[in-house]
């Protein structure tokens, strides 16, 4: 019983730390996005709250927290309250299988613990795919329950978009799974150790660079970011599926979007860019501090992707809806399928080890 209690306490502590870091990152991202966009458009970005506007997220958070929570007349109250939760929970739950650092164990009170991954389950990547597919329900039901034309149109667009691009995400990942021979993110990351030429984006039998491009584009589409933000296109649909939301419920959708961005960045880093592995063989720091280096590299890769999201937003105009669908089904899907075919042949001709 004490054994179980210890294990539970350790898991809860891990979950608390990961959630804390994710929430802090989301806070920081809202500021970073406005600052980066500002600089790219030759503006200063937020400057009022604190030095250089660094306390802006706290002001925004307080504002959202104290805002009146409005349920529109004719809305379905139950689904209207359920939708933001359905959007946020899947976005946060995926972090449970992400390896944030080297796969080492520490001994605590006579038990072995893995400090840098909450749970190493053998279907890791499928678990994430399963829960990200639930995130669409929050958007669809939120759009439907609001009893507003704009929300409904946003929800419908989102449903079609998420189904189309989820398929591409799944198929883009298959190439990496074929090379790694595992679905566990910990094992996939470990297989990429020993220099950047072992990362699956460049790896030997068949570099997954096409799959990587397909994955990144589909991930942008799946998180409803510019240039694929049709479910919330301001100039057409006011704010899309969350037009009628205010206060904390709006904040939940907002948090879900940013948490999803972090999640897809973590997956891209772990699957294609070697996760916590440094781009050179071995480590620079001594053995007992190697985990610091691993975590720093992982964070650097994740932040690169997050910067890419902002960069795209500042650069590209929004696609038209038929362009979005045609691009997903007639360009991305054939590339992803072709990649699977070639990778399977390459993996068969050059079996590993």
């Amino acid at each position: 019983m004490a054994e179980l209690g210890l294990k539970l306490a350790f898991s809860v502590a891990q979950i608390a730390v990961v959630m804390g870091i994710v929430m802090l990152t989301v806070m920081f991202l809202t500021l970073a996005e406005r600052k980066v966009l500002g600089w790219m458009q030759d503006r200063m970005g937020p400057m009022e709250v604190g030095p250089y506007g660094v306390l802006q997220p706290i002001a925004d958070g307080l504002k959202l927290f104290f805002k009146e929570d409005i349920v529109p007349a004719g809305a379905n109250k139950f689904l209207f309250s359920l939708a933001p939760i359905l959007a946020l929970v899947p976005a946060l739950i995926g972090f449970a299988v992400i390896p944030f650092g080297p796969n080492q164990t520490v001994e605590l009170f006579g038990r072995q613990f893995q400090p840098f991954v909450i749970s190493d389950i053998n279907i890791g990547i499928l678990y994430i795919l399963a829960f990200t597919s639930i995130g669409a329900y929050g958007i669809i039901l939120g759009g439907w329950a609001s009893n507003s034309k704009y929300s409904l149109l946003g929800g419908l667009r989102s449903a079609a978009q998420v189904i189309s691009y989820e398929l591409n995400v799944g198929l883009a990942i298959v190439g990496v799974l074929l090379l790694a021979g595992s679905l566990s993110l910990v094992k996939i990351t470990e297989a990429q150790a020993g220099g950047f030429w072992h990362w699956y984006i460049f790896a030997f039998p068949f570099p997954q660079i096409f799959a990587f491009v397909v994955y990144v584009i589909s991930a942008v589409a799946e998180t409803n970011r510019v240039p694929f933000d049709l479910p919330e296109a301001e100039s057409e649909l006011v704010a899309g599926f969350f037009t009628e939301y205010s206060g904390m419920r709006f904040a939940f959708f907002f948090l879900a979007e940013y948490a999803n961005m972090i999640l897809v960045s973590c997956i891209a880093a772990a699957l294609f860019l070697g996760g916590w592995n440094a781009p050179y063989p071995g480590t620079l720091l001594p053995e007992n501090l190697a985990w610091v280096e691993g975590i720093v590299w992982f964070a650097a890769k994740v932040y690169f992707f997050l910067f890419l999201f902002f960069w795209l937003r500042a650069t590209l105009p929004r696609l038209r809806y038929d362009q979005l669908m045609r691009f997903g089904w007639k360009v991305m899907l054939p590339i992803a399928l072709g990649n699977i075919l070639v990778t399977a042949i390459a993996a068969y001709l050059f079996p590993k080890g």
């Binding site: 053998n122 669809i140 409904l152």
Partner: protein, 173 residues
Amino acid sequence: MAQAFFLYFAGIIVLTSVLVVALRNPVYSAISLLIMFFHVAGLYVTLHAEFLAAVQIIVYTGAILVLYLFVVMLLNVKREERYHAQFPLAALLGVTILTEGLMLTLNRRFSSEPLPLSGDNGAADAAAGNTETIGEVLYSTYLFPFEVASLILLVAMIGAIVLAKKDITARDR
């Protein structure tokens, strides 16, 4: 412990399955279906079939149910009021299936020997991962059914394309 989990999952599955057909609001029906799919996946996890559990959620909740909701929202039916003249047929089918189910469970209770598959599965699980085992079995023992299933899916796909295409050419002329 395992028994308790099974009872919980089975109970919720039965309850939500009944709610799917009993609720009048189609969106609520879809949500009970969502809850049911999750609990079926939970049952798979208790049986150590993690791969099936994940695929269950990805395929059924991630794709099929989203399409249902999509259609429900497009038609915008707030309440379904078209329940009529179904009762005799429903009663006939229901009684038949219930009798079958009861007979099967009663027969099952008296045969005390365990199913041969369960012990087999455990050994295979220990040797290789769940996913590898399924892949291997699918492409060796059950290769023929697998290929037949894929052929049927291909035919369905071609049928859908033909149906959709006809419309476009007719409009063009």
